[in-house]
């Protein structure tokens, strides 16, 4: 299994000291779903935000360590952040659709980047909607406003929008926290499909979702990486007592 991202001794502290990462080292494999889970304030979202430099916008007091993506240290100040974010897409907890048609939601990013060829745009719409398991539901109404879609459909549209730019890594921060079980299972099914071509890093909204989706899972507690293992191991026989206590609901 090739490692797409290698995190080396990453430490981070915010100005107000609320959340931090303490000396995290972790390899994220290609073509797999890696889940970052643990109680709130453990550092999982902070780590996710480091992976496409969203923390540039936060009040960070200190940050050290390296994050290698295809051999390039993305924390290097010289890194082209726009290019990085194209390579590393992100989907947030609440779907944010643009106030335009379903089709335009997908093509917007590509058009901003200068893609004008209609055939390319149409191809991207179909491909990314199929990958996000939304195509069958919307193919006959691509010109309808995206806002008319259900919450679950909107979230899959956000996944599709991110896929349209052909990123290599997709970060998802509790992408199904506001969705009903059926929409949740559709999003999860689409993740299983798209992981064949992408590296996926997911912060799940529950331990059960972590167990359902994880090829690999990293348990974070108070800024520390407690345990990192294959999903099938960590949710049946974790080695660290703190992981055991958390996944069995003794705290968190």
């Amino acid at each position: 299994m090739n490692e797409k991202i290698v995190i080396e001794n990453l430490s981070l502290q915010y100005d107000d000291g609320t959340e931090s990462l303490r000396n995290i080292s972790l390899g994220i494999p290609e073509n797999a779903i890696t889940v970052l889970f643990g109680p709130a304030g453990g550092g999982k979202s902070s780590l996710l935000r480091c992976l496409n430099r969203l923390n540039d916008l936060s009040e960070v007091k200190t940050m050290s360590g390296r994050i290698w993506l295809d051999g390039e240290n993305i924390l290097d100040p010289k890194t082209d952040v726009i290019r990085l974010r194209r390579k590393v897409g992100m989907v947030f907890a609440r779907p944010v659709v643009l106030p335009m048609s379903i089709r335009s939601n997908i093509t917007y990013g590509l058009e901003v980047m200068g893609e004008k060829r209609r055939s390319r745009l149409e191809e991207a719409v179909e491909r990314s909607l199929i990958q996000a398991a939304l195509w069958e539901e919307v193919k006959d109404r691509l010109n309808d406003p995206a806002i008319a879609l259900s919450g679950g459909q909107q979230q899959r549209l956000c996944v599709a929008r991110s896929l349209a730019l052909e990123p290599e890594v997709i970060l998802l921060d509790e992408p199904t926290s506001g969705l009903d079980p059926i929409s949740t299972s559709k999003v999860e099914a689409s993740l299983q499909e798209i992981k064949k071509n992408y590296s996926i890093i997911l912060v799940p909204h529950s331990v059960q979702q972590a167990a359902r989706t994880a090829d690999f899972a990293a348990f974070f507690l108070q800024g520390e990486l407690v345990e990192y293992a294959q999903g099938k191991t960590i949710f049946t026989a974790p080695t660290d007592k703190r992981t055991e206590d958390y996944v069995t609901g003794r705290f968190g």
């Binding site: 059960q208 049946t236 026989a237 974790p238 992981t243 055991e244 996944v247 069995t248 609901g249």
Partner: protein
């Protein structure tokens, strides 16, 4: 709060498994006792109790399934509930051995036993005692005790070999003894299998505690008999 509910349900299941185990334990002792005394009515009761054991097994499996569905357990809790399935079904099969002995007594009917029973009741007592302690270790998650109990299976195996040899001498003396020897050999075989299954319960205890699924071998030399 959720954890409290879960622990309450687990405690309830543990109590029920102990109850099921005690029915099986009682039935194997009663089955051999009925054979020894040639008490047909007692054997009928053994067969009836086995029906209760079978019903209890389905009832408990259903309860375990409900806990899995509602609590979605992971890690230790998942191993625990998966092991409950296994142990419940082991107990049901052990109950079948007791019932089998009850059926044999009735089938022997008016014929006298080939010989007075000495080692066969010992096998039953040993097996019942192993089961009793194995189930306590199971609910208390005592892996050390669980690892030690299967060693005692050798005692049962040795008694079985002894019974076998003794019955063979009767057969060699007079081939007309074959049928009556065969009935008792069948009883001894049931008891030998009964204590083998105690080992399976012990293996589940180790699994719950350590997460490792391994066979506990009492004495490999005896496995070929």
């Amino acid at each position: 709060m959720l954890r409290k509910n879960f622990e309450f349900e687990i405690q309830h299941l543990k109590d029920e498994i102990i109850l099921l185990g005690s029915l099986v334990e009682k039935n194997v002792i009663d089955a051999v006792d009925a054979l020894k005394k040639r008490d047909m009515a007692a054997s009928e009761r053994v067969i009836e109790l086995d029906q209760q054991i079978n019903n209890k097994r389905f009832e408990l499996e259903n309860q375990v399934m409900i806990v899995i569905a509602t609590q979605q357990p992971l890690a230790h809790d998942l191993r625990l509930l998966a092991s409950y399935f296994e142990v419940i079904s082991e107990l049901e099969r052990m109950g079948d051995y007791a019932k089998g002995i009850g059926v044999i007594n009735i089938r022997i009917g008016e014929q006298p036993l080939l010989k007075p029973l000495v080692d066969i009741p010992r096998m039953a007592e040993k097996g019942a005692s192993m089961l009793h302690r194995a189930l306590l270790a199971f609910v208390n998650e005592d892996a050390n005790t669980a690892r030690s109990i299967p060693q005692e299976d050798d005692d049962v195996d040795n008694l079985y070999i002894q019974v076998y040899r003794e019955l063979m001498t009767f057969v060699m003396e007079d081939p007309k003894n074959i049928e009556r020897a065969n009935w008792l050999l069948w009883v001894a075989h049931n008891l030998e299998r009964f204590s083998d299954r105690v080992t399976n319960i012990c293996e589940r205890t180790v699994f719950i505690v350590t997460g490792e699924l391994t066979e506990i071998d009492s004495d490999p030399d005896h496995k070929n008999h």
